[in-house]
Amino acid sequence: MTRAKTLLAVTILSAALLWVFLEMKPAVKPISLRFHALVDGEPLVLDDMRYQNPGGDGQFKVRDFQFYLSNIRLTGPGGDYVLPDSYHLLRFDGDQPYTEIRLPAMDASAFDAIHWGIGVDPEANGTIKITGDLDPNNRMAWNWQVGYKFILFEGGLEDSEGFLPLVYHVGFDENYTPQSLPFAAAAESGEETIVRFTVDIAALFRADGPLDMVTTPSVKFDRDDAARIAAGFPNMISASQ
């Protein structure tokens, strides 16, 4: 073998080794948790009287939908990660088709499950301390004696008798719902690891049998009504590939 050929072989081998090394090296990137809002599996369209009353006559529209997600934690073979001050207001009226929570740069492949609570845990719900997106002067605050709405849904229904306002403000301490979901990257870009979830609003009106929005057009401070909507929390968010 000539000297030149040897040099070429060494270079190719080095490049191959470098490639293997880079491939094996965990991708430490910021993680983007992206939440896509749906109604019955279809992307949410705001302010459009297009959805069927789940348990009765008439069509409904969604004017505002937002909710709190708390205490995000990742677990897996690579260990545990607990996001500090983790109180997130998720809303879907922005310019993007999803709402995002960003986690710091980590190797996403070290984790296989994500855990959080839908709503605000009782301790945080009982204070007026500003942590994360919790703010006693925001729209989600009921007042300091009651705490936060966990889910805010406002809209309207139209049936043969005309217009009916819809107001579902749900959140007592007992409605706080911890949830665990599989955690896997949906996509990688040069800058971040993207993990996707869907939020199906229809789950709120189906858990305890289809809700007739005409007979129950609002849920606020009645605990049984709140529990009926909150029964849908475990089915609202799903991991999506």
Partner: protein, 378 residues
């Protein structure tokens, strides 16, 4: 020079500008005695315009100086008078042209919190951006900015103040100074604040009004509510700061009479008739009320919310739904809070606890020219 080098040099220069913009100016002093109640929450002062003693003092002087107007007769304080919670007591303000404006003078209180969009329709995204608009508006102060710069440069006091605070006279410096002064207009010693701090008790009527203010009604659990908190946050009593939550249609006009409001800014039909929810701090001294000053008294305001709401496609469902009625007695198409006369009176009593005499008479917010004249006379 290689392309890479040029890019690197540009990045470095950009970084330096960014760094320097955030630096306090050489001769300025950070505002030392600026404290705010924790219940008001976080606030942000733009990095490029930190609160300094010199900037605030200059802003206060400019705020009260009629030379900011084209005819040298109208200052910011003409329409924003301290004793009236920085409003002017008029239905619609009248400026240089004598033509009444379309809108009611907005109170200037606790501007660091609540919606960080200014003007009733939210068209301005910062106090700096807002400040130069009234100065140039032909019906407000009708001033030419170049002419104003010349006028200010002829005044040795201004020259020195601008040099110290902002390194020279410019329209941007005028805006920054006015914004700084306005950020210091914090009202936090009303009877409501004293109550929140545990220093006093409210009277039974005020307490009844507070409870009504702070509640969305739910007849199912026998909770009466005045529904105020659905738009006015519990401590600040302002609109909400998140996204555009601090703007709403509060039923002043029906479908045909809806003004563009926020939709002129966002281009969204869903925002027609949306206006900024103002802070209710010092509300008892800021009559007349609403964006167009249509109501003279708080009684009229309460009557509006109780039984005067006009329906439209962008009216909040929270207003329509809040009827204090059990479902079986609800009648579609009828919008009313169904409050009693005593309940309305109680809410008004609570609104009076938001008056902060210290704020309305605080010498730090008063006319510095009068202060100087007083000093000269002594």
């Amino acid at each position: 020079m290689s392309k890479k080098f040029v890019i690197a040099a540009l990045l470095l220069a950009g970084g330096a500008v960014y760094f320097l913009a955030g630096m306090p100016r050489k001769a300025t002093t950070p505002l030392a005695d600026f404290t705010v109640p924790f219940v008001y929450g976080h606030f942000q002062v733009p990095k490029e315009n930190p609160l300094t003693k010199e900037g605030v003092a200059l802003g206060r002087r400019l705020f009260y100086d009629p030379r900011l107007s084209g005819n040298n007769e109208i200052s910011c304080a003409t329409c924003h008078q301290q004793a009236l919670g920085f409003t002017d007591g008029l239905k619609a303000s009248v400026g240089a042209s004598g033509v009444p404006l379309s809108f009611n003078s907005m109170a200037l209180t606790n501007l660091l919190w609540g919606p960080q969009r200014f003007f009733w329709d939210g068209r301005s995204v910062s106090l700096e951006d807002q400040a130069l608009n009234p100065i140039q508006h032909p019906d407000e102060m009708a001033q030419d900015l170049d002419a104003l710069m010349d006028e200010l440069a002829e005044d040795e006091t201004y020259k020195a103040l601008f040099d110290t605070a902002y390194g020279g006279i410019s329209p941007e410096a005028v805006a920054m100074a006015l914004a700084s002064f306005q950020r210091t207009l914090v009202s936090a010693n009303s009877r409501y604040d004293q109550y929140l701090r545990g220093e006093i008790s409210l009277t039974p009527e005020e307490e009844k009004g507070r409870k009504l203010f702070m509640a969305h009604p739910d007849a199912k659990v026998a909770q009466k509510g005045g529904n105020c908190i659905d738009c006015h946050s519990q401590f600040l009593t302002s609109g909400f700061s998140t996204a555009l939550d601090g703007f709403s249609n509060n039923g002043l006009d029906g479908e045909d009479g809806l003004l563009p409001g926020l939709s002129a800014v966002t281009g969204k039909a869903a925002h027609r008739g949306f206006f900024k929810t103002p802070s209710l701090r010092n509300i008892a001294v800021t009559a007349p009320y609403m964006h167009d000053g249509r109501f003279d008294t708080l009684e009229e305001v309460l009557d509006h919310y109780d039984s005067g709401i006009k329906d439209s496609s962008t009216l909040s469902p929270l207003i329509v739904e809040a009827d204090n009625q059990p479902l079986d007695r609800r009648q579609r198409g009828q919008i009313s809070l169904n409050l009693t006369a005593d309940e309305k009176k109680a809410i008004i009593a609570f609104l009076h606890t938001l008056t902060d005499e210290d704020f309305l008479t605080d010498p730090r917010f008063s006319n510095p020219f009068e202060e100087e004249a007083g000093d000269d006379a002594r």
